[in-house]
């Protein structure tokens, strides 16, 4: 898993929405603050390497993405390349208060933009 960590920089989910031109698929509280982003399609890597409060960028669309976010205490999930999760995935995310975004950007682009924002470049 690739992770982007910043030296003290913090952004909100609201800013992530703006930076990635993302659609908010669910999530009421976008004032949530984050300082770490990880990009992975392998949930095993997220379970092994993520930190609590991390934002996950992923190209994997599966209910297991939300389950992984719940057990790992992630602050939200961004599906890349315009991928749209099914109803079952969004229902679970809503029930569990996991914010879900979708961006047209590729994983590489989205990670680059957020790395820039977190490292102040």
């Amino acid at each position: 898993m690739a992770t982007a960590m910043a030296a003290g920089k913090v952004i909100t989910l609201d800013e992530v929405v703006r930076l990635l031109g993302a659609r908010v698929l669910c999530g009421k509280d976008l004032a949530v603050r984050l300082s770490e982003v990880g990009a992975a399609d392998l949930m095993s890597d997220v379970l092994a390497l993520s930190k609590p409060g991390m934002l996950l960028l992923t190209g994997l669309v599966s209910v297991q993405v939300i389950r992984t976010a719940i057990v790992s205490d992630l602050c939200g999930v961004v599906f890349v390349r315009g991928k749209m999760p099914g109803k079952d995935i969004l229902e679970l995310a809503r029930e569990s208060n996991v914010p879900v975004l979708s961006t047209a950007m590729t994983m590489f682009q989205a990670a680059g933009v957020l790395y820039g924002a977190l490292s102040g470049r």
């Binding site: 392998l42 599966s62 389950r67 569990s96």
Partner: protein
Amino acid sequence: MASEAFENAFAVLGRDFANAGRVSTAIKDTLKGLGIHAPIVRRVAIASYEAEMNLVMYASRGKMRLTVSSEAITIDVDDEGPGIEDVSLAMQEGYSTATPEMREMGFGAGMGLPNIRKNADEFVITSEVGRGTRLHIRVNLLA
């Protein structure tokens, strides 16, 4: 938190991917409700979820039992499945017998058992080929 032991058992069905993880999120909610420290809850939830995914991916059915005492949280998993031929090999990072279907869900990278060991203070795995696998996962509440 109450000092007496708390126990809860859950049934898990093999191949039921839609519900895989439901037991572990319920365990997480229970532990949060008992007021257990968030980093400990997270370690238990991750270990439990890895174990639950293994059960759903490989076994036909099984049970997960959560026990909370004043000293520790334990998860005991007991499945009816193919068992593991070489447990020490299965414990190696990267070793996996996963199918493409399991990999498509973001699992089966050979990271599950090592990650359970990483999150647990005590981890015992026993397996009998053709019968099933048992896991004993303990996370201490006291340092």
